[in-house]
Symmetry: C2
Subunit: 206 residues, 2 copies
């Protein structure tokens, strides 16, 4: 698993399937024309691409990326506490989308063209040595109106600079501020674990 | 807080408000005519009632109860592993409701009749020495079809005999089996922490 996120690791560990974690240094920039779920799809693919040369036979690499999408704009990780507070002010009283993409990468042992078929729900590259499949999951999250005091308290105490949209749903702000949610909670935590399980099940059965 | 549930304690701790836990031995039976959310409302009230004689001035007691409601029937805590498996078989492939009721109890220092007004969203008893307020929260949870192997694995490994409906949403079965959810995830964990926070906020401001 190519992730340093403790939330992703915890969720993955909950599947009771052995796995190891690797560190990937990937360029997380993306083309400006990409929108919504296509952004984490692109970035999770870029993370995988940065690691493919280290893959061994029978390895399956899982990479992932999460963004917060509010009224047609992306909120990434805040650089400063000030930016974190601004983001939470934007999210306060509104509904946003959380998109998490998951990318699975493995060596193409046959390297035949048949394995590179494109399906309508999955994406695969034309790279002959590796195979990729990705999906993206979306959850609607509604914050009630947060007070300045609540935003200050959360940012100062929890320092959410490593989190897309400046919040962790499994932290204080998620407890007190999330009014409703439609879709997977785990997706908002950063890893749609149910769909990962289903994908792995289908992959290892095949 | 009158609860032995580690999930409830963890969620309550996340509010960053000091609290202590007490053990309450209450009769959890209820009248047969009660339906759905009225069942945990009744039981959370019974838990509170079993403790009122121990309350001191300025204490605020929080009690809570959670049930799983499937097609007009309640699923409580399973007594045996066999019963747990049967419950999960019933839940598999269907949508059910999780109801959690929270009851707040405190000494009525004034004992005047004004404090006993009934509001349309809250319930208060006519008991002159104590005041109660309760609410109930509901979440729709949809399980995908679970295999016998998945149900066996979960029950044998996780022993969900202390859990209403024989599952913990924050455990393996929640990761792999929950297809969608509408409402609060924390409510399904057994404690609608956002509404608890709002209630406490309003109570201590008043």
């Amino acid at each position: 698993m190519g992730s340093q996120s403790p939330r992703r690791r915890e969720l993955m560990a909950g599947l009771d399937i052995p796995f190891t974690c690797v560190t990937i240094d990937a360029d997380e920039s993306y083309p400006a024309y990409l929108q919504a779920g296509d952004i984490p799809l692109y970035i999770s693919r870029a993370k995988a691409h940065a690691y493919t040369s280290n893959l061994h036979e029978n390895d399956l690499l899982i990479t992932s990326d999460t963004i917060v999408w509010l009224n047609g704009k992306m909120l990434g990780k805040p650089n400063t506490k000030e930016e974190a507070k601004q983001m939470l002010n934007l999210l306060s009283g509104h509904t946003h989308q959380v998109y998490t993409a998951v990318c699975f990468t493995w060596l193409n042992s046959s390297s035949s063209i048949e394995n590179n078929e494109l399906t309508d729900i999955n994406y695969q590259t034309k790279q002959p040595n590796y195979l990729y499949e990705s999906f993206v999951d979306c959850t609607d999250v509604t914050f009630r109106t947060l007070t300045t005091k609540e935003i200050e308290y959360y940012v100062e105490k929890y320092m959410p600079l490593d989190k897309a949209g400046a919040y962790g749903v499994q932290e204080w702000i998620g407890y007190i501020g999330v009014q409703k949610m439609h879709g997977s909670y785990f997706n908002v935590m950063g890893f749609p674990i149910g769909r990962v399980y289903e994908w792995l099940n289908a992959f290892y059965k095949a």
